[in-house]
Amino acid sequence: MSRTFKGRPILSGACQGEALVSHSGFNTLASYETALILRTHQATCTDQNNPDLYKKVMTGKVLCLPQTIGSTTGGLVLMTTCSIGSQPKAMLFSNPIDSLAAAGVILSDIWLEKRIIVVDTLGTDFLQAVHTGESVSIAEDGTVTIE
């Protein structure tokens, strides 16, 4: 049975993809650090403090998270993943988006013309409902459906 959640589209778009769920804050630098240094397309999470994602592939996934945390290079990291092609397909935030993630996706959109679809304020119920590996579809208006 599919479940539907309505959020706020920050960078709108429609897509479908495989969910990758972080229940704790997503530390962008700690997660992408090695992949960025090595410029690998297949970015594997290197954040030792995130048991949900550690050693999991993030590229092309629908990243479901409460918010991002950590270094203020976070936005720059997201921007760089877009130029390498290792970025997530979409980012779905249960909380309002944070300033670092917002900067990263907006700069990528405006300066690189590469868009990560972003929906925020999906609520804590969303993060409890969605599981890694499930198929998730996103509509232009910020509706998210877990298949």
Binding site: I10, R39, N49, P66, T72
Partner: protein, 439 residues
């Protein structure tokens, strides 16, 4: 996010409309869309010098260099001079082997080019590379109430909390665009409402806690919320001095890296808490009690990424964020006393004390001090230890640190201050020490 709701004055609107060129219009669009994501109603003028996190010419961040070049080619500069985070490496103070050096030169191959870009945009001076730009020796110390658009999480949390300035946790990229426009969107920590605390942290430890552990516990719990911390004034006193400032710096850096804290209040200590007290607490705040057992739990939870748990560290990093003079003097004397107590003259591995170039110069240019430190196997550097750990070869070594920030972003193993001294002198931490003194 297509319809612009944020109110711009005529000059700002003209910039957005491209009257001052396409590149500046793109910069304005970026900060307007950014502000709108947070419900900002207008832009404020930045008052004071800026600080940026991006100090490293890493080959990988090509889109950032391209954006910088676009700005420079359009003839743009920041409204005021700026400081940036530390340089990634300094071979004169941090010895590395030839292969490691080769990799450093590959990873940070754009360093010289990037520093040219920084100078073209308005870098304050050649010594402006430090994460603690607010130290008096460096001089980028914002006044209370100053509106800023800083990045570098540890500097942001210090500026907001200890100095009472106002800056959001801006990302690399947005910081530069705000500095060029001299504008920042008014939301979050720039507003009174955004500075209210939603967590009350009750410190109930039996003695002064480790700043690094306490900050980590708070960050992991509250994430990006604003904490109001009680019970700490008992240990810190109510007067600011270099020791208290160092404690708050290190605690803040740990809250910002283990979580996303950009502002904290310490009852009777930090400026807004001194003026407003518990009025800073939102009525529906949550409470987190931190006692000895809780700090012990947090410490025991840290993963250890060394291949061999009993390895003797090859290097020790102290100073992430950079040390102030009081800390630098304290570490030199502490290590010296421990060496003397063990009948040794040198630490078993290089110990790197990182500090801003303006402070390092004071020590390194004194031949007697330099000779003393060389004899102890202790060096004063100006690098960013975190950037050092970005070298995959260097990161394979067992590296120890007392920095919770460095622990969070690298394979460096975290130890408490007293354990670090023990490690430096004996190569190991006595069982009686480890696990008992977790404060």
């Amino acid at each position: 996010m297509t319809e612009i709701k944020l109110q711009l004055n005529p000059e700002e609107q003209a910039i957005l409309d491209g009257k001052q060129g396409e590149v500046l219009a793109k910069a304005m669009k970026s900060i307007v869309v950014y502000g709108e994501a947070f419900g900002a109603t207008h832009l404020v003028d930045i008052v004071g010098d800026q600080h940026f996190v991006t100090s490293f010419g890493a080959n990988t961040i090509k889109p950032y260099f391209a954006m910088m070049q676009e700005l420079i080619d359009a003839g743009l500069k920041t409204q005021n001079p700026f400081t940036v985070d530390p340089r990634p490496i300094e071979y004169s103070s941090v010895n590395v082997n030839p292969i490691q050096k080769l990799v450093f030169n590959l990873v940070f191959g754009k360093q010289a080019d990037y520093e040219k870009q920084l100078r073209a945009l308005g870098l304050k001076n050649d010594n402006a590379f430090t994460c603690t730009c607010y130290f008096p020796e460096v001089g980028n110390t914002p006044k209370r109430g100053a509106m800023l658009a800083w990045s570098e999480s540890s500097a942001v949390v210090y500026a907001n909390s200890v100095l009472g300035a106002r800056t959001n946790r801006n990302s690399a990229g947005i910081d530069v665009l705000c500095a060029i426009l001299g504008k920042a969107p008014a939301f979050g920590f720039l507003t009174d409402a955004g500075r209210q605390a939603t967590w009350k942290i009750e410190v109930k430890t039996s003695q002064k806690p480790s700043a690094q552990l306490l900050g980590s516990a708070i960050g992991l719990k509250v994430m990006e919320a604003v904490p109001y911390i009680t019970g700490l004034d008992k240990f810190l006193g109510s007067e600011m001095n270099p020791t208290v400032e160092a404690f708050l710096k290190d605690m803040g850096a740990a809250t910002a890296s283990n979580g996303a804290v950009g502002l904290y209040h310490v009852e009777n200590v930090t400026p807004e808490a001194r003026d407003l007290g518990t009025k800073l607490l939102n009525p529906d705040y949550q409470t987190y009690v931190i006692d000895d057992a809780e700090l012990g739990r947090v410490y025991a939870h840290y993963p250890i990424l060394w291949k061999r748990l009993d390895a003797v560290p090859k290097r020790i990093f102290i100073g992430c964020p950079h040390l102030n003079r009081s800390q630098l003097d304290g570490w030199i004397e502490r290590i010296s006393a421990a060496l003397q107590a063990h009948g040794q003259t040198r630490t078993l591995m290089p110990v790197d004390l990182s500090t801003p170039p303006d402070i390092a110069d004071l020590y390194r240019k004194d031949p007697a001090v330099k000779a003393r430190l060389d004899a102890m196997n202790v060096s004063i550097s100006t690098i960013c230890p975190l950037m050092y750990m970005n070298n995959p070869l260097a990161a394979m070594d067992p590296i120890a640190t007392n920095s919770n920030k460095l622990r969070t972003y690298s394979s460096a193993r975290f130890y408490l201050d007293e354990e670090i001294v023990e490690l430096a002198v004996t190569g190991k931490v006595a069982a009686a020490l480890k696990g008992e003194k977790v404060l």
